[in-house]
């Protein structure tokens, strides 16, 4: 599949890298298919921390995502079984990838991540959904720059 992206140019991607969001994402309900790309880990010098979701249908829409537990060990959002079941068959919790959408403003030190609405992906069915969790402890706008910097220094 050929995907046009404002950010990444033209990408040739295997169909099995495409994640389907049956409901879209809040604010982007008409966009259903996204390419999941592992980000350049020069950023954190660690694999699996930084990811991108590029819309298949709209070249201009891409999200940066973070694997939050990699740098915030206490982050453990409660995702209901109904939500998990809605993404199709799975064998164990390890079949799910949970990532959080980041906002990267002009001033990168103000970079933030949405802890309240994780993106959950069933890696077997490649279906995803952005879930808004009830737990009010988790902020929609959690500043994250310092935590990411620390991660890089530890390595």
């Amino acid at each position: 599949m050929i995907i046009n992206s404002t950010r990444f140019g033209t990408i040739e991607a295997d169909d099995d890298k495409i994640i389907t969001f049956d409901e879209g994402l809040p604010g982007f309900s008409s966009l259903r298919e996204f390419l999941l790309i592992e980000g350049d880990y020069a950023l954190t010098r660690r694999e699996g921390v930084f990811w991108w979701l590029q819309s298949v249908e709209d070249a201009e829409v891409a999200f940066a995502l973070l694997n939050v537990p990699a740098f915030m060990s206490g982050y453990n959002p409660n995702i209901s079984n109904e939500t998990l079941n809605g993404l199709g068959d799975y064998e164990c919790a390890g079949d799910f990838l949970t990532l959080n959408i980041a906002v990267i403003p002009g001033d990168i030190t103000r970079m933030r991540v949405n802890l309240r609405a994780p993106v959950v992906i069933n890696s077997l069915t490649r279906k995803g959904r952005q879930v808004i969790i009830q737990d009010g402890r988790y902020e929609v706008r959690h500043l994250v720059f310092d935590e990411l910097r620390k991660l890089r220094q530890v390595v």
Partner: protein, 68 residues
């Protein structure tokens, strides 16, 4: 917008499988009970709007992330 008058304990049905019941009324506050299939997302609108706005911000990142 369709407006229906309901008393405490009364419901409305949306489609075949969604029921919304007025479970209590106290002054300005109305408590609603909702029965719906698990596949239907139900959120307080304010929170949903905040998430929507945050997603729109996220889709237009500008910074040079190599600075990280």
């Amino acid at each position: 917008m369709l407006a229906l008058t309901r008393k405490k304990g009364e419901s409305v049905i949306i489609g075949d499988d969604i029921e919304i019941m007025v479970t209590s009324i106290r002054g300005e506050q109305v408590k609603l009970g909702i029965v719906a299939p698990a596949s239907v997302s139900i959120y307080r609108k304010e929170l949903y709007e905040i998430i929507k706005r945050e997603n729109r911000e996220a889709a237009k990142f500008r910074a040079d992330i190599d600075k990280l």
